[in-house]
Amino acid sequence: MRLRQLLNRIGLWFAVLMIVSPAVMFFVWMLSLSLKYEIDNAAYPPVLIPEQFAWSNYAAVLESNRFGTYFLNSIVVTGSATLLGLAVGVPAGYGMARMKANKSAVVVLIARMTPGLSYLIPLFLLFQWLGVMGTLLPQIIIHLVITVPIIIWIMIGYFETTPVELEEAATIDGADRWQVFRHVALPVARPGITVAFILAVIFSWNNFVFGIVLAGRETRTLPVAVYNMISFEQLSWGPLAAAALLVTLPVLLLTVLAQRQIVAGLTAGAVKGG
């Protein structure tokens, strides 16, 4: 019996190892690529830990004055789209949950299904016509397509679970709807807002397709910038991997730090998504 338990235990750990290792090995290899000189990256058999670390790969990426610009662009686009998304999405989620207007959430669902490119064609023409193509404005606006549905979706789910009794009591005490929302519903919903915020930031930060169409030389976000590195600079792996790692590092850190919230948000959103 004990042997059987032990075997089960070993089997479980073997399964866990099999499942987690592709993810871990990939990111370890990514780190390794980013820290090797060209000669080590071209070596056969491949080298995992080089004798000399090529910190210069990172220096090269960080020193190029454009990286700062692109980083700032990413911050501005993701930051603005997320904050605007919260400003309109949180009250909307509240309103829809209280109105029990769950059917209207179908629009949100369809928005999730729609291929990003089909937003891009009309908005691209619109932005050209408005003459705002050289600025970050088009990207901020189109990133609302990502952030607003996520935020509304998560907030509807969250407000549905928060108790109405407290809000009713406040109404009896003479508070109007806005005050009830501001002082009763909103504080209770803070964990939900955190989840919505994190997911909106991650998906906006990661977005690539909107940027390749709408971004000019000065207005690229990081994912677009790192992609452009392949086409315009010589294909040297070390700096490219270093740049790729730097681009995704904020998101990876957020994932590790806020793992619990992310899992909760994705599961809730996904299960409701059916």
Partner: protein, 312 residues
């Protein structure tokens, strides 16, 4: 802390007399701003795409109504037909593999073991990481001479592959990336389902002396089926729309061997600036996505006798 503010709402109410009407009023003012945003960045593009799909559009010039001509063109466009085939093959594989592996991973993560939360966090990382950044590293790993994948294959005695550089292996290679990236999402959804299963059926199964496989086949699988279906729906939609990974690794190549509808749509609209035709492709593509989603939703309804778990 903020509830303190409730004790003295009077001064605030006085500064906002207009909002008094809300007391008995509706929740519409909360929804209105979002409605405006959704209307202008989501609904307007849908309508405009539909309108443009019926027009011939010149960049910088005007547009002329051409009726269904753009849609008729789709019937004779061989590159579009090929793209449909690529999309269907890619989607089928990129749904099935993550479903199977995700179900397996969920069962493993449903067990109790040390460091489960941390390991789950590591497991979820591929899904949250920036797709383009990941794609660049995969592209390096796929490299036939310098890539690490062929080295790993050589360790187990498999001859080197051309991966994304050969028409026959490009789609399976991209599916590998997609599977690596999205298995965690399936895992999370199914894990949520497993957590919602009551323990009673398992206890009676054990008393009846059921084997582990019988327990899985006749209890676990039927009970998590609704969740697997939800995962299948989400995965299908995302796989159909997949863009970043394919574009960043192959740009649809070699030749057009991995060009899916979404990539072809991109080329038509933003490389050839054939906006009208691109819009027509977008409309058809959108209908395909909705159609598939409806089909899977219908399948999910058929499994709803196990609805117990879905309320979670």
């Amino acid at each position: 802390m903020s509830s303190l503010a409730l004790d003295k709402p009077a001064p605030q109410a006085a500064t906002r007399p207009a909002r008094d009407g809300w007391r008995s009023g509706s929740y519409w003012p909360f929804v209105l701003p979002a409605l405006l945003v959704v209307g202008s960045v989501i609904v307007f593009p849908w309508a405009f795409t539909l309108w443009m799909s019926l027009h011939e559009w010149q960049v910088g010039g005007g547009s002329s109504f051409v009726g269904a001509a753009n849609f008729m063109r789709l019937f004779t466009d061989l590159r579009f037909h090929e793209a449909i085939v690529h999309t269907l093959v890619f989607t089928a594989l990129a749904v099935l593999l993550p479903l199977v592996l995700g179900l397996f991973s969920a069962i493993v993560f449903h067990q109790n073991f040390k460091g489960r939360g941390f390991l789950r966090g590591l497991f979820v990382m591929p899904m949250m990481a920036t797709p383009v950044a990941i794609a660049l590293v995969w592209a390096m790993m796929f490299h036939p001479q310098l890539g690490v994948l062929n080295y790993l294959l050589s360790l187990v005695g498999i001859p080197p592959q051309l991966w994304v550089f050969h028409p026959a292996t490009v789609i399976p290679s991209l599916v590998l990336v997609e599977t690596w990236q999205w298995t965690p999402l399936v895992m999370l959804i199914v894990l949520g389902g497993l957590a919602a299963i009551p323990t009673e059926p398992y206890e009676s199964a054990r008393i009846d002396g059921a084997t582990a496989w019988q327990t899985f086949r006749h209890i676990t699988l039927p009970l998590v089926m609704p969740f697997i279906m939800v995962a299948a729906i989400i995965r299908s939609i995302d796989a159909l729309k997949s863009f970043d990974i394919i574009y960043a690794i192959t740009q649809g190549g070699p030749g057009t061997a991995s060009e899916t509808i979404n990539l072809y749509l991109y080329s038509v609209a933003f490389a050839y600036y054939d906006i009208g035709y691109g819009s027509a492709i977008a409309v058809v593509f959108f209908l395909m996505v909705i159609g598939l989603a409806c089909l899977l939703l219908w399948l999910k309804q058929r499994t709803k006798w196990t609805e117990v778990g879905v309320g979670a």
